[in-house]
Subunit: 186 residues, 2 copies
C-alpha cells in the first residue's frame, strides 16, 4: 500500500490517519501473466491501480480484430472507463502481459473517498486532467501523425514499455500495421 | 450567468451565496463569426464555457493541413487543454463558426474555485470524467470505426451540430476524407 500512498501524496498531501482510512477502500489482487482482469460482458466492478506488472486494455471488433486502448504499468490506473463510470457491462478486456499486483477500487468507494476527503476529490481530478490531456495528444497523433511520428512519440513517452512489450502490440496500439513498423524499425 | 449556474447545479447543488462568489471568477466575452479566441503561439489564458454559438478547436500540421480536435456548443467547455493545464503556449486554434458568447476562466481561478469549494472540485472532476470517457470512445472510433460508423455515431451524438456545421468540417473531425463522406451521404 505504500506505493499508493506515495502516489497520492505526490498530488495531495495526506496524513497517517487519513491514509489509514483511505486504504481500507482498496483490495489487493495478484495477477498472473495471461490472466484476464476483465472480459467483454463482465460487470465492471473495479478501477485498478497498478502496483507492478504490465497490462493491456483492449477491445475486439465484429471481425475478431483486436484494438489496444491503453497499456498500464506501475502507478497507472486502468479500467474499461466508459463502462465503469456508467456501471454498464464491459465492452473491453484487460489482460496481464507481465505478472504483478493491482489494487482494486469500486466506483462506490471511489465516490465515497471523493465525497469524504476533498483531498481525494482533488487527487482524482488531477489524475483525470492528466489522463484527458494524454488522450487529446493521442487523438492528435492518430489524426495527423505519420507511423514514424507515432512510434517515436511512444518511444519518447514510454521507454520502459518499449523494452517489455512486443512490437506487434505497440503497432496495434498506434493504429499502424506491423509491416509498416517493421519497415521503419528493423 | 444563469446558464452557468444551471450547468453546475446539475452536478453539484450550490446555494445563492456560493454562486455569487463562484461567478466572480468568470468574465463574459462576445465572439463574432470568424473570430479567433486562440491562435498557435498565444499564451493560453482561459478555458471557455460556451453560453451560445458554435466553435471549433483545431491545429495545423507542417503541411498546412487542418485537424479538428473538438467542436463546442452551448454548455460545453473548450480550450487548448494540454497547453492550458501546463501553462505553455498554444499549439491549437479556436475559431468561432456561429457567433455567440463565452465565459472565460483562468487556470488560477479554476484552481482557486476547486480549492475553496469542494463542490466545485467535484463539479470539475465529474466534467473531466465525462470528457475522458468521450475521448476514449472517440479513440475507439478512430482506431476501428469505418467512415460510415464514425459518421453515424457523430450524427447520433450531436444531431444539433450536424445541422449547423458544413460536412467538410465534420469529415475533418472524423478523420475521413470529404470524398468518402460525400460518397456515403449525398
Amino acid at each position: 500500500m505504500e506505493k499508493l500512498r506515495t502516489h497520492i501524496q505526490h498530488i495531495a498531501p495526506i496524513n497517517d490517519e487519513e491514509f489509514e482510512e483511505i486504504k481500507t477502500h482498496f483490495t489487493v489482487k495478484r495477477v498472473r501473466k495471461g490472466q484476464y482482469l476483465l472480459s467483454e460482458g463482465d460487470e465492471v466492478k473495479h478501477e485498478f491501480f497498478v502496483l507492478s506488472g504490465i497490462y493491456k486494455v483492449f477491445y475486439i471488433d465484429g471481425q475478431e480484430k483486436e484494438y489496444i486502448l491503453q497499456f498500464a504499468q506501475e502507478n497507472w490506473w486502468m479500467s474499461d472507463y466508459p463502462s465503469f463510470f456508467k456501471q454498464k457491462d464491459a465492452t473491453m478486456y484487460i489482460e496481464c502481459l507481465v505478472e504483478g499486483e493491482v489494487l482494486c477500487l469500486t466506483l462506490q468507494n471511489r465516490e465515497k473517498l471523493s465525497a469524504t476527503f476533498h483531498k481525494m476529490e482533488h487527487f482524482f481530478r488531477v489524475k483525470l486532467t492528466n489522463g484527458y490531456v494524454a488522450l487529446q495528444l493521442r487523438i492528435k497523433l492518430l489524426l495527423s501523425g505519420t507511423p514514424q511520428q507515432r512510434y517515436e512519440e511512444f518511444a519518447r513517452l514510454y521507454p520502459n514499455l518499449m523494452q517489455q512489450i512486443p512490437k506487434k502490440l505497440i503497432a496495434e496500439f498506434l493504429g499502424v500495421s506491423r509491416e509498416t513498423l517493421s519497415r521503419l524499425y528493423q
